[in-house]
C-alpha cells in the first residue's frame, strides 16, 4: 500500500516536472556539469553555427583531459535557426527538463534578448553572449558576463589609427541600420570629435541592398580617404568590388566580424588585400607588431595548441578552422576558468564570485576583467575591452599593426 502510494506520488511529481535530483545545484552532479548553448546551425545565419561547434570541441577536449575536478562538461547545444521564438523554446526546455548549471555564448542579439530576462530572473549564469551588443551591460546584470568586445571599440580604434597613424583627413562610415552599424557610427564620431573633425559621409546600408553603386558614389562624392565598414562580410565584398570598378579605392577598414582574412580573401577574390580590421584573436600581437602571421602561426602558442589538440582531434571532418570556430572557444574560456577556480564544491554563487574576481585573465582573446556587481557600472560586467588592428596580406595573412589596445565604453544614449 505504502509502495503504491509512493509510486503514485513519484508519478505525479514527474508529471509536474519536478524531477528530484538529489543535488544541491541545478545542472551539477558528482560527475557532470551541464552547460547550455544555442546557435543557428540552419537558416540565414547558419555560418555562425561554428561558434557552438567550437565550444563543443573545446569541452570535449577538456573532458578527454580529465574534466574539471573530476566532472565532465556536458554540452547541450541546439539549433534555433536564428529565430528567437525557437531560442526561448530550446532554453526553457533544456533549463526545465534537463537543468543547466549555466549558459555559454549564444549567437544573436535578438535571440539573446529574448531569453535574457528568463535567465536573469532565475539567477542562471550566462557567460559570453556571441554578439557585441551594449544590451548585455545596459544595465549590467548580476549573472550576465560579457566577453565579446563591443563594436564601439572597433570603431574607436580604427578611427584613431586612421587619423593619427595614417594621417587620413576624410573619414566615412558605411553602416548597417542596426545595433552593429549604429555602434560603429557612434564610436567613429566620438573619436573624430576629440580630434575636432567631422565625418566626411555616413552611408546607411540596408540588409537587402545588393547594388552598392549608390553607396560608393556617395563615398566618392565625399572624397573619403578612409572608409569604416560596419556591414556583413557579403556586403563588404560587394563594396570592395564596386569600389574597384568605379576607381574608388580608399583605405577600407572593418570590424572583428570581417577579420577572418583567409575567408575574406576568398570571397573578395583577393580584393581584401590591404584592408585593416579590428581583431580579438587568431594572432598574437604582443611582441609581433609589424610582423605577418598566418592562421596556423607558432607565435600564438595557445592557438597552435587548440589547433592540434581541439580542432584536429574533436572537430568534424569538414569543419573549417577559422575565426568563428575559435570564437566559440574564446567565449567559453572564462566560464571554464571560473568553474575550475570555484573548486569541487561548485555552486552558481561560487561561479559568479569567481568570475567577479577575474582580473586580466587571458585566453585566446584580450584580457578579461570583471568586478563586484554594481547596477550602475557597466564595466563590472563588460569583461573585455581589448582588441588590436591587423591588415590583410595577399595570401590571407595578418600584418599586425598594433598591440592589444583598450577601448572606451560609451553608454547608450537612449
Amino acid at each position: 500500500m505504502k509502495n503504491t502510494f509512493l509510486a503514485v506520488m513519484m508519478g505525479a511529481l514527474l508529471m509536474l516536472g519536478f524531477v528530484p535530483t538529489g543535488h544541491a545545484e541545478v545542472g551539477v552532479t558528482d560527475t557532470e556539469i551541464h552547460i547550455g548553448q544555442w546557435s543557428p546551425q540552419t537558416g540565414p545565419a547558419a555560418p555562425w553555427g561554428a561558434v557552438a561547434r567550437g565550444t563543443d570541441a573545446y569541452f570535449k577536449w577538456i573532458n578527454a583531459n580529465g574534466g574539471i575536478h573530476g566532472r565532465k562538461l556536458i554540452h547541450h547545444y541546439f539549433d534555433d535557426a536564428y529565430n528567437p521564438a525557437k531560442t526561448i523554446a530550446g532554453v526553457k526546455q533544456l533549463q526545465e527538463q534537463t537543468g543547466m548549471f549555466a549558459w555559454v555564448s549564444g549567437v544573436g542579439t535578438a535571440c539573446g534578448l529574448a531569453v535574457k530576462d528568463y535567465l536573469m530572473e532565475r539567477g542562471i549564469p550566462w557567460v559570453g553572449p556571441s554578439a557585441g551588443s551594449r544590451h548585455w551591460v545596459t544595465p549590467p546584470q548580476k549573472h550576465l558576463f560579457n566577453v565579446y568586445p563591443l563594436y564601439l571599440g572597433d570603431a574607436q580604434l580604427l578611427t584613431e589609427y586612421a587619423v593619427t597613424e595614417m594621417d587620413k583627413k576624410r573619414i566615412a562610415v558605411v553602416y548597417q541600420e542596426d545595433d552593429y552599424g549604429k555602434q560603429g557610427l557612434e564610436g567613429a564620431q566620438h573619436v573624430l570629435e576629440q580630434h575636432s573633425m567631422e565625418l566626411a559621409a555616413k552611408v546607411p546600408v540596408s540588409i537587402s541592398d545588393t547594388d552598392m553603386r549608390p553607396h560608393t558614389m556617395k563615398l566618392r562624392q565625399a572624397e573619403a580617404d578612409a572608409v569604416l565598414v560596419f556591414v556583413t562580410p557579403g556586403h563588404v565584398a560587394r563594396l570592395l568590388g564596386t569600389g574597384k570598378a568605379m576607381n574608388f579605392e580608399p583605405q577600407w577598414m572593418s570590424t572583428t566580424t570581417c577579420g577572418d582574412f583567409p575567408l575574406m580573401i576568398a570571397i573578395t577574390k583577393g580584393l581584401y588585400e590591404g584592408v585593416i580590421t579590428a581583431s580579438f584573436g587568431m594572432a598574437q600581437p604582443t611582441g609581433n607588431v609589424g610582423g605577418i602571421e598566418h592562421i596556423n602561426n607558432p607565435n600564438h602558442e595557445l592557438m597552435a595548441k587548440y589547433k592540434t589538440e581541439v580542432y584536429d582531434a574533436f572537430a568534424a571532418d569538414d569543419e573549417r578552422w577559422g575565426y568563428t570556430f575559435t570564437t566559440g572557444i574564446g567565449l567559453a574560456e572564462p566560464l571554464v576558468e571560473a568553474i575550475r577556480r570555484a573548486g569541487r564544491d561548485l555552486t552558481r554563487e561560487k561561479l559568479v564570485a569567481e568570475l567577479e574576481k577575474m582580473e586580466n585573465f587571458q585566453g585566446l582573446m584580450g584580457r578579461i576583467t570583471y568586478g563586484p556587481y554594481d547596477p550602475d557600472d557597466p564595466l563590472c560586467r563588460i569583461g573585455q575591452q581589448e582588441i588590436f588592428l591587423q591588415q590583410c596580406t595577399a595570401d590571407g595573412g595578418s600584418k599586425i599593426l598594433t598591440d592589444w589596445q583598450t577601448t572606451e565604453f560609451i553608454p547608450m544614449s537612449q
Partner: protein, 349 residues
C-alpha cells in the same frame, strides 16, 4: 464533407449536445493545463495559441474567400509594433493597445484588399508577398519604431496585475484565442461567411446574385489582418523584444503552410494545422535525442551529409510530413477527421 440538412442546422454554433460536451471538456482541460504541465509546455501552448489566431484569420481569407496571402507576416509585424508603440508612446493599457493594433492591421488589410480586387492566383500572391517585405523594410527605417535595432516590450499589466510568467500569460493568450476562434466560427455561419464562400466558389455567379465583391473581398483582407495584428501584439510579449527581421517571408510561408496542412475552408482545420506544425517546429530539434533513431540519423549525417546535415534533418522530416499530409489527404488534417467520422458513423455496417 460534413453535410447539413437545413439552414438552422447549418447556423448553429454547436451542431449537437455531444459537441457542447466536448467543448466544455476542452475548456476545463485548457483551464487546468498550466497546473499539469511544466513551464516549457505552457510556453509552447502560448506559441501555439498565437499561431492559431493567425491561421484561423488567414483561413478566413484563403480558405473561405479564396484569396491567397503571402504577406501575413507584415500584418503580424504591424500588430506587434503597434501594440508596443501604443503602450510606450501613447500610454494605452495593454488590451486597448492590442485591439487598436488589430484595427490598424485591419486598415492595412483593407488597403491591400483594394488592389487585390483586380488580382487573382499567382499575381495576388506576388502582390501580398511584396506587401509583407515592404512593411518590414519600412519599419526598419522608422526611428520611432526602433529602426533595425528593434523594440523592447514594456511590462505587461492588466487591471493592476503584472503578467510576468508564461503561466500568467497563458490565460490571457488562450482566452483571446478562444474568443477569436468562436468569432471566426460565427462569422462563417453568417451572411458574411456565406458571401466569402460564394466568392471563393464562383465570384461571377456571386456578383450576379448580389454579393458585393468590393465590400466582401476587402472585408476578408481586413478581418484576416485584424487576426494577424492581434496575434502579433501577443507575440511581442512572448518574445519581449522585436525587430523587423523576425517578420520575414519564411514566417508568411509558415502561416500559409499551417492553414493548408490543417485544411482550408474550415475553422477546425487551421487549428489542427497550427497545433501540429507549431509543435513540430519547436520539437523537431529534439529528434537526435530519440534513442537509436537519433544515433542512426547522426551516423547517416556524418556519412552522407555536410557538417550541418544533422541539423537540416529536421527540415527534411518537416517537409516529408507536409508532403505526406498533402499526398494522402488533400483536405489536410481536417479531411482526415471528416474521413474518420464518416467511417465510424455507419460502423459496424
Amino acid at each position: 464533407m460534413d453535410m447539413k440538412r437545413s439552414y438552422y442546422e447549418d447556423v448553429r454554433l454547436f451542431s449537437s449536445g455531444v459537441t457542447v460536451f466536448w467543448f466544455v471538456a476542452l475548456m476545463v482541460f485548457l483551464f487546468f493545463y498550466p497546473f499539469v504541465f511544466t513551464n516549457y509546455y505552457v510556453y509552447m501552448a502560448n506559441y501555439i495559441a498565437i499561431n492559431i489566431i493567425v491561421v484561423v484569420g488567414l483561413n478566413l481569407l484563403v480558405g473561405y474567400t479564396g484569396q491567397i496571402s503571402l504577406g501575413h507576416a507584415g500584418f503580424y509585424a504591424i500588430g506587434a509594433y503597434a501594440t508596443i508603440t501604443l503602450m510606450t508612446v501613447a500610454h494605452f493599457p495593454f488590451l486597448a493597445a492590442l485591439v487598436c493594433a488589430g484595427l490598424i492591421a485591419a486598415v492595412f488589410g483593407f488597403l491591400l484588399g483594394l488592389p487585390a480586387l483586380r488580382l487573382e492566383g499567382p499575381y495576388l500572391a506576388i502582390a501580398t508577398l511584396g506587401f509583407g517585405l515592404t512593411i518590414t523594410t519600412v519599419i526598419g527605417r522608422i526611428e520611432m519604431l526602433g529602426g533595425r535595432q528593434g523594440l523592447h516590450a514594456p511590462d505587461l499589466v492588466i487591471m493592476g496585475h503584472h503578467l510576468t510568467s508564461d503561466r500568467q500569460f497563458y490565460y490571457l493568450a488562450v482566452t483571446i484565442t478562444v474568443l477569436l476562434v468562436l468569432l471566426a466560427r460565427n462569422i462563417t455561419k453568417t451572411k458574411v461567411g456565406r458571401a466569402f464562400i460564394a466568392i471563393r466558389d464562383a465570384h461571377i455567379a456571386a456578383e450576379t446574385m448580389g454579393v458585393n465583391l468590393v465590400l466582401y473581398k476587402t472585408m476578408a483582407f481586413a478581418l484576416s489582418a485584424f487576426y494577424a495584428g492581434v496575434a502579433g501584439g501577443l507575440y511581442a510579449f512572448v518574445l519581449r523584444f522585436i525587430e523587423p527581421e523576425l517578420f520575414n517571408l519564411f514566417l508568411s510561408v509558415f502561416f500559409l503552410t499551417m492553414a493548408v496542412a490543417g485544411g482550408l475552408g474550415s475553422v477546425m482545420g487551421p487549428i489542427a494545422g497550427a497545433i501540429v506544425l507549431s509543435f513540430l517546429d519547436l520539437q523537431l530539434r529534439n529528434i537526435l535525442s530519440i534513442p537509436y533513431i537519433g544515433d542512426w540519423l547522426r551516423d547517416l549525417s556524418a556519412s552522407y551529409f555536410s557538417l550541418t546535415g544533422v541539423s537540416n534533418i529536421q527540415f527534411v522530416i518537416f517537409g516529408s510530413i507536409l508532403i505526406a499530409i498533402m499526398l494522402f489527404e488533400p483536405l489536410g488534417l481536417y479531411g482526415l477527421w471528416i474521413r474518420m467520422k464518416k467511417y465510424w458513423k455507419p460502423w459496424p455496417f
